[in-house]
C-alpha cells in the first residue's frame, strides 16, 4: 500500500480542503516514528492480554477480596471520555453553536476511537473472554451486564453513524479530486454514496444528522447510567447509591470534554490548524469543562455528606478508607489535581492561556481516571463480614494493557485522519462563508 493515502499533488480547491486533507497526503516527518511507537505499545498490550488469556486473571493482581480493579476503572474511564466527544459535537450541533465547526470532526473521531478502546475492557476483564457470545445465546435480561452490552453496542452503532454522516460531503470532495476509475477513487466514491451536493441531498443529510445527534444524547446517558448501575445494583457499601447514574454521566462528560481539549490542542499544533482552530475554541471548551467540573464537585460533596452524616457502619468504613484511610492520598490528589487546580486554571483570568488550558485538561483526564479507580477499589476490597480488607497487587499486565489502551486512542485517530479529512470541510467552509457574509467581506 502506498505511503500516502492521497497523492501529494492534488489541486485542493480551498484553503480548508488543503489543511483538512494535508494529513492524508503528507502527515509530516514525525508521523511514522510516532505511529510506530504507539503501534508498538498497542502490540505490547495485545501480548499482555494473550498472556493473561493463557494464564488466567491472577496475572492481573486480582483476588477474591479484590475482585474488581484497574480493568473495571478503565472500562468506565475510556467509555466515559467517549461521551465528551459525542456531547461536544451533538449538543453544540443541536443548539446551533457555530464555533464548533472546526473541532467537531476531531471530537467525533475521538468519541468513536475511545469507545472502541473502552468497550474492549468489557472483554479484557472477563475470566472467559472467549465465551462473551453467551450474552447473546443465553442472555439474562435482569442482569446489569446485559444492559451494558445492549447499551454499549447501540451507542457504538449510533456513534459510528454520527461520525459517518457529516463525513459524506467531505468524502465526495476527496472522490472528486481523485482520478475517475482509480482504486482510491472507487473506494471514496462508494463511501460518498453518490453525494453531489444537491439541495435535496443536503436537506436529507441535515435531517439525518439532526436525528442522530438528538438520539445520541439519551443513548450516551443510558450507557453511563447503566455502567454506574452495574456497581450500584449491588448492596455493597460505597456503590449502592442512587446518585451513581448521574454521577457517572457527569464524570464522563467532565473527563470527555477535557480529552477533547487535549486532542484539539494536539492536532491543532501537529497538523497546523491554527488558522481554523483558534484559542477561542479551546477557551469555550474549557468553560464547558469547568461547568461540568463544578457539577462533579457538587455531586462528590453531596455523596460524601449524605453517607458520612448518618454514619451507617459499613458505609462509613468505606468512606473513612477513602477520606482518611489507605485511599486518602489518592482521593485528595484527585480533589486537588482533578478538580480544584484545573478549575482554578481556567477560572482565573490571568491563567487563560492555551498552555494553561491544556495543563488543566490533562490534569482532569488523569484525575478522573484516578477517581474511577477510587470508585472501584475501596468497595471491591471492603469486607462484608468481619473487618479484614482485601488488597490488589499491581502487576505489569494491567499496567501494560492500560498503557496500550492509552496509546490506542491517538494511534486510532492519526490513522483515521490518514483516510478522512481532519476538519469537517463542508461545515467549516459554510461557517467561514457565514462569517464573511456578516462582516461584509471575504473570509
Amino acid at each position: 500500500m502506498a505511503v500516502a493515502t492521497i497523492p501529494h499533488h492534488l489541486p485542493w480547491s480551498s484553503e480548508v480542503e488543503s489543511a483538512a486533507c494535508r494529513p492524508m497526503a503528507s502527515p509530516g516527518r514525525f508521523f511514522w516514528p510516532i505511529a510506530a511507537l504507539l503501534a508498538a505499545l498497542v502490540a505490547a498490550g495485545f501480548v499482555a492480554f494473550a498472556y493473561q488469556f493463557l494464564e488466567g486473571l491472577w496475572v492481573a493482581g486480582y483476588s477474591d477480596r479484590a475482585f474488581y480493579g484497574i480493568y473495571e476503572a478503565n472500562l468506565v474511564a475510556f467509555i466515559g471520555v467517549s461521551y465528551g466527544g459525542a456531547l461536544v459535537s451533538a449538543v453544540l450541533r443541536i443548539t446551533g453553536a457555530r464555533w464548533r465547526a472546526p473541532i467537531s470532526r476531531m471530537a467525533e473521531a475521538m468519541a468513536l476511537v475511545s469507545l472502541l478502546v473502552g468497550a474492549s475492557f468489557a472483554i479484557v476483564h472477563l475470566g472467559r473472554p472467549e465465551r462473551v457470545l453467551n450474552l447473546i445465546t443465553s442472555g439474562n435480561a435482569s442482569s446489569p451486564i446485559l444492559w451494558d452490552f445492549v447499551a454499549i453496542t447501540t451507542y457504538l452503532l449510533a456513534t459510528a453513524m454520527f461520525v459517518y454522516l457529516p463525513l459524506v460531503p467531505d468524502l465526495a470532495r476527496v472522490r472528486d479530486h481523485l482520478a475517475v476509475g482509480s482504486w482510491r477513487g472507487r473506494i471514496y466514491g462508494l463511501a460518498a454514496i453518490g453525494w453531489a451536493d444537491a439541495p435535496e441531498q443536503r436537506r436529507r443529510l441535515e435531517w439525518a444528522i439532526g436525528i442522530i445527534a438528538v438520539l445520541l444524547i439519551p443513548l450516551a446517558v443510558s450507557v453511563h447510567s447503566v455502567l454506574a448501575w452495574t456497581f450500584s445494583m449491588t448492596t455493597r457499601p460505597g456503590w449502592h447509591s442512587t446518585i451513581f447514574g448521574p454521577y457517572f454521566v457527569v464524570g464522563a462528560l467532565y473527563s470527555g470534554v477535557a480529552l477533547v481539549i487535549l486532542v484539539v490542542a494536539a492536532f491543532r499544533r501537529a497538523y497546523h490548524l491554527e488558522r481554523f482552530v483558534q484559542p477561542r475554541q479551546l477557551l469555550l471548551l474549557s468553560r464547558i469543562m469547568v461547568a461540568l467540573g463544578l457539577v462533579y464537585l457538587y455531586l462528590t460533596f453531596a455523596e460524601v455528606l449524605t453517607v458520612g452524616y448518618t454514619r451507617t457502619r459499613e458505609e462509613v468504613s468505606v468512606l473513612a478508607a477513602v477520606l482518611e484511610g489507605p485511599f486518602a492520598p489518592a482521593f485528595w490528589a484527585f480533589m486537588a489535581g482533578g478538580l480544584f487546580i484545573p478549575i482554578a486554571l481556567v477560572a482565573l483570568p490571568t491563567h487563560r492561556r492555551t498552555g494553561a488550558l491544556v495543563v488543566a485538561a490533562g490534569l482532569v483526564v488523569v484525575g478522573m481516571w484516578l477517581k474511577r479507580l477510587l470508585i472501584v477499589l475501596p468497595t471491591a476490597t471492603a469486607p462484608l463480614i468481619g473487618d479484614v480488607w482485601g488488597s490488589i497487587t499491581i502487576t505489569w499486565v494491567p499496567a501494560l494493557i492500560t498503557l496500550a489502551a492509552t496509546a490506542a486512542i491517538p494511534l486510532g485517530m492519526i490513522v483515521l485522519f490518514r483516510f478522512v479529512p481532519i476538519l469537517a470541510i463542508d461545515e467549516v467552509e459554510r461557517e467561514l462563508a457565514h462569517r464573511a457574509a456578516q462582516q461584509g467581506g471575504p473570509a
Partner: protein, 276 residues
C-alpha cells in the same frame, strides 16, 4: 413475600397433602430419636428424604422435593476449621477457596465468637439475578448452582453476594479429582479456570441421602442439614423437628434486612451480634 422465615419458624402442624407420606415417616423417626436421645446412624434420616425406588419398575420415583436448609449452632462452634478442610478435600479446592469459611468476629460485649459462613442458598438470590448468561441457577430443591461451562467470569455475582460466599478461579486449579471426573453444576470438580465457584450444599451427597461434608466433619455437632418442607434436620448424631428447633433456639438468619431469604440459620448464644 413468600416463604417468610416467620412462617418457617411456626410448628407445621398442617402438612401439605402432597408431602404427607414422607413427612409422616420422617416425623415418626425424628420423634423416636429425640425421645430416646439415642445416637442414630449418620445417614439414616437424610436417607429417608431422598426418592424411593419403585418396587414394581425399579425406576426412581421422582416426587420428593426438598427445600434444603442448614443451621449453625454458634454456641457449639469452636472455630476448629474442620468443616473448611473437609469441604476443600471433597471439592478439590485451593487453600484460599473457603466455600465454608469460619470468621472470627467480635460480639457486643467485646469477646469473640466464630461464625462459619457458606452459601446461604438465598430464596431471592442476588447472584442469580445479576448473572448475565444464566450460568447461576436454582435447582428444584432450592439450591443455587453454577454452570461453569457457561460462566463468562464477569464476577458480578461476587459483587452482588452480600455474604462473600463466591470464589473465583483466578488460575488453573492445582487440586484435581481422579482422572476422568466430569465436572457438573452439582459436583463442580475440577473447578474451571476463569469461572466462579461456591458451596453447593453438597447436593451430590444429599441426593444420595448422605450428609454434606462440613456437617459430617464437624466434631462439635454444630452444623445441621435439614429440609424445610419435611421439617426435619440432623447434625449426623441427633435428629430434630426443624421448625421447633429453630423456634425454641431463637434462630436467626444473617442480614435478614436484605430480604434475600437465606436457607441458612444461626443459633446465637453468647450475646453475639450478627447485625440484627
Amino acid at each position: 413475600m413468600s416463604d417468610l422465615p416467620t412462617m418457617e419458624l411456626q410448628p407445621s402442624d398442617v402438612p401439605l397433602v402432597s408431602r404427607r407420606l414422607s413427612r409422616r415417616a420422617l416425623l415418626g423417626s425424628a420423634a423416636a430419636v429425640a425421645g430416646s436421645a439415642a445416637v442414630a446412624p449418620l445417614f439414616l434420616h437424610l436417607d429417608q428424604l431422598v426418592p424411593r425406588t419403585s418396587a414394581a419398575t425399579g425406576v426412581a420415583i421422582d416426587t420428593t422435593h426438598h427445600r434444603w436448609a442448614m443451621v449453625f449452632d454458634l454456641r457449639r462452634c469452636d472455630g476448629c476449621g474442620k468443616c473448611t478442610t473437609a469441604c476443600q478435600e471433597t471439592h478439590y479446592l485451593e487453600p484460599d477457596q473457603t466455600w465454608i469459611n469460619v470468621y472470627e468476629l467480635d460480639d457486643a460485649s467485646g469477646g469473640g465468637f466464630f461464625m462459619p459462613r457458606l452459601c446461604m442458598q438465598c430464596e431471592d438470590a442476588p447472584c442469580l439475578n445479576v448473572c448475565p448468561v444464566r450460568a447461576t441457577f436454582k435447582n428444584r430443591d432450592g439450591v443455587v448452582l453454577i454452570d461453569q461451562d457457561k460462566c463468562i467470569g464477569c464476577r458480578l455475582c461476587i459483587s452482588a453476594c452480600p455474604y462473600e460466599a463466591r470464589y473465583f478461579n483466578w488460575s488453573e486449579p492445582t487440586n484435581k479429582p481422579p482422572e476422568g471426573t466430569v465436572p457438573t453444576p452439582e459436583f463442580p470438580s475440577p473447578q474451571r479456570r476463569g469461572t466462579v465457584g461456591k458451596c453447593t450444599f453438597c447436593v451430590h451427597h444429599t441426593e444420595r441421602g448422605e450428609l454434606p461434608s462440613c456437617v459430617a466433619a464437624c466434631a462439635m455437632e454444630a452444623i445441621w442439614i435439614g429440609d424445610l418442607d419435611a421439617d426435619v434436620a440432623t447434625n449426623g448424631v441427633e435428629t430434630v423437628r426443624l421448625s421447633t428447633f429453630l423456634k425454641e433456639n431463637d434462630a436467626v438468619r444473617y442480614k435478614e434486612e436484605l430480604n434475600t431469604g437465606p436457607h441458612v440459620y444461626y443459633i446465637l448464644g453468647h450475646g453475639q451480634d450478627l447485625g440484627f
